[in-house]
Symmetry: C2
Subunit: 448 residues, 2 copies
């Protein structure tokens, strides 16, 4: 194994150059920017490593499907996405998001952590492995989609077509993950679900002088009042039935949660907050973070928001709201409950546009594949990793793995300070190299 | 008088050319754009008509002060402002806001109605009057400030210096006003007051992945919850003490209100609304419009508000809120009540920035100067105008007139469809000419 690890270190610059090319290509799914170009780039990268590659069309961005045959009967699934989050607020980036820069051992670019870094790292790991071994120990099916950041709206089309490929997989190495704020490696075994909605209110035909607020209804106020009925200041979601389907935490999950040494102080410092939400800490904080469903305002807008003052009665208002869901909450059912709740509260004038929905999927820390991944991490990182039954973020785990009973483990190259989804997204180059070694080591473990 | 009216009609094109020059000069006080240039332009216009003009400096934009001596002992005050509202949303303008266009008898530009149209109209009226009479029947003091749209923050400096000029005035012709949605001329006798505040909340040091909503407080939610405590869906302001100083409507004011034939149907059609606020109509609607204080959200912003979806926990949120006040509500006292209320409700984390305050001032429909103005309107427009004790908008009436006991009447060239403060602001050229004749006729009435 040492010769493979050394190979990876010796070829780090080539891998970073590859990452630079990948990150220089914009691929913002929310804005439909550069997706076809990025799919081609990813496909080319997989072909260079020896994959047979198809670009599977969907009604949205194409899915890159790579296949490579190995010695054994087992199939390992790899999942990544080649799209990235929008870059705004653009003026808060130190260097432009699509012009990768290396500063003080860190690689800065949109997508560096989430998750082009992981794509390139995996390609480099496979290349290094094959430079020193005759063949892969397992078959590999690599799925790289282009719409993860907008909720994978067309991935089901791919899954319907290739269900047989997915169904029999031994396990899946998921995107995301890496090191926590105490620099300990963490492996997540599932994802929260998501319901993303837009709430819209409308008033007069156009913006009016705010003096008319005495006689004309305000869509901004309607929106505020409607939002207020969704959650109270104690963070309790007020939609009747919202918590009905929440499944109790299993004993194995509870044990994994207890064993998880969550770096509270470092995380608070990192985010620049004095306290966690509602003063949470310890077991209750971890439980809320991993098993607590949320209702978050991603954005809200009405009227004049520029400098100085303008007295205007806005003619429309909207809010983008996401609900993170836990097993067995169903996004379609939550959307229906939301609509019914608004109607019951007298807000039938509030339009609800349900933009995305993904079911949640939590994992079993005791599964053999999970234990193999944990053993590998211990070997590469020098400590036993935390096993987190479900990450607080969302991805199509249920669609690709959960529904087929395939266990998953995350493997990423980011760390707690990576600023995913935010300005100055970056990875540490040392993490990038170690993450590459981890994938190679996992292959070796699977060959045993 | 006929020869003066004919003169005004014959010189309409020259006056419109003058208006075009005035509206082509941006002068957005909220953004500090073009104010000095516009002050010079206005001063030049007054000099052309025969005024002796001073540009009175303040800590903000200069005040244009014009003086002309007439035959009589009475002094008539004219008040206007040369600044305009911001132009956004820019993409909703049919033609650019600072490139005046005439279409179908209408003159489009930012400031056409509010209120460069009135400034030019007055200049043209005085010019026409002096072309056919030896001298003005009254002395005129013309005050044109440059910060009305941001609440006249420095006008008090001018007033302190020239209080003696203002104190003895017989009456004041105010800016604003014109025809209602039934094309009837209306005269307002005062203004509501204003308190304009910005509410700000802050969370983490930067925007975070929205998955962290399970553990990190959201400034967007804090803002929504804080706003919700300010007003309930029945439009009742919930700040304790808010209504304490509201003075009862006088019998003369009540009579004027009853006589006012408010064009409900036309106004609803104009604004594109099905019903007035809370289903109000008749006397209650008029009372609310004129004597009801308001609490309006001018703008609200947090997080991602672009196309598609982005899952983000915003690190800050803000709302711009205006309160329209009625006698004897005091903006400073309301600001203090707001702060105390938020603190009492547990929102001491919500920052309140009080941007502007102006006291309200309501007028007496029975005052002789008001009756003169009404008689003049009847002569020019062919019908008895409504006398509205207080307009629902705001201006520094108290500062310039109310505190000195000087009565005021509005005289403008706009109409209900003028889209003041909004895209496609415009006036009808016929109204512009009639408004010019009205000023000339008022001078004639004052000579008797």
């Amino acid at each position: 194994m040492d010769e493979i690890f050394t190979h990876i270190e010796a070829h780090a610059d080539e891998c970073l150059a590859r990452l630079k090319r990948a990150c220089a290509q914009p691929s913002v799914s929310a804005q439909g920017e550069g997706l076809a170009e990025m799919a081609d780039l990813a496909a080319g990268m997989l072909r260079d490593v020896g994959f047979s590659v198809e670009l599977v069309p969907t009604d949205g961005a194409p899915v890159v499907l790579g296949r490579m045959t190995g010695r054994g009967r087992r199939t390992l699934l790899l999942y990544n996405h080649y799209d990235v989050q929008p870059v705004d607020p653009l003026d808060e980036w130190t260097t432009p998001p699509f012009e990768p820069h290396v500063r003080e051992g860190k690689f800065y670019a949109r997508g560096a952590a989430d998750n082009k870094g992981a794509i390139v790292s995996r390609a480099c790991a496979l290349e290094a492995y094959l430079a020193h071994r005759d063949a892969l120990p397992v078959n590999i099916v690599w799925v790289i989609e282009g719409e993860e950041e907008i909720g994978s709206p067309h991935l089901a089309q791919f899954v319907a077509q290739y269900a047989d490929l997915l169904r029999g997989a031994y396990g899946c190495v998921w995107e995301a993950g890496g090191k926590n704020a105490r620099d300990r490696y963490e492996i997540a075994l599932g994802c929260k679900g998501l319901l993303y909605v837009e709430l819209r209110t409308r008033g007069a035909a156009r913006d009016l002088h705010s003096a008319l607020a005495a006689a004309v209804e305000s869509p901004a106020w309607r929106l505020v009042w409607a939002l207020d009925t969704l959650k109270d200041p104690d963070e309790r979601v007020l939609i009747p039935g919202f918590y009905d389907d929440v499944r109790p935490i299993s004993p194995a999950q509870r044990r994994a949660l207890t064993e998880w040494d969550y770096p509270e102080e470092e995380t608070r410092a990192l985010y620049g907050i004095v306290n966690f939400l509602g003063g949470l800490s310890g077991e209750r904080l971890k439980e809320h973070l991993i098993f607590g469903p949320t209702c978050n305002i991603d954005g809200i807008h009405a009227g004049y928001t520029g400098p100085g003052s303008k007295t205007v009665l806005p003619c429309e208002a909207y809010a983008k709201v996401d609900f993170r869901l836990v097993p067995d909450q169903d996004p379609a059912r939550i959307a229906a409950l939301l609509r019914a709740h608004l109607d019951a509260q007298g807000f039938d004038d509030v339009e609800v546009i349900a933009r995305e929905g993904e079911p949640p999927s939590a994992g079993d820390p005791a599964h053999p594949f999970v234990q193999t991944a944990a053993r590998t991490a211990e070997r590469v990182y020098g400590h036993r990793p935390a096993l987190i039954p479900m990450m607080s973020g969302t991805g199509p785990v249920h669609l690709l793995c959960g529904q087929f009973g395939v266990p998953m483990v995350t493997a990423g190259v980011g760390y707690a300070g990576s600023r995913g989804h935010a300005p100055d997204e970056h990875i540490r180059i040392a993490d990038f190299i170690a993450g590459t070694q981890y994938i190679a080591a996992l292959l070796e473990e699977l060959s045993i």
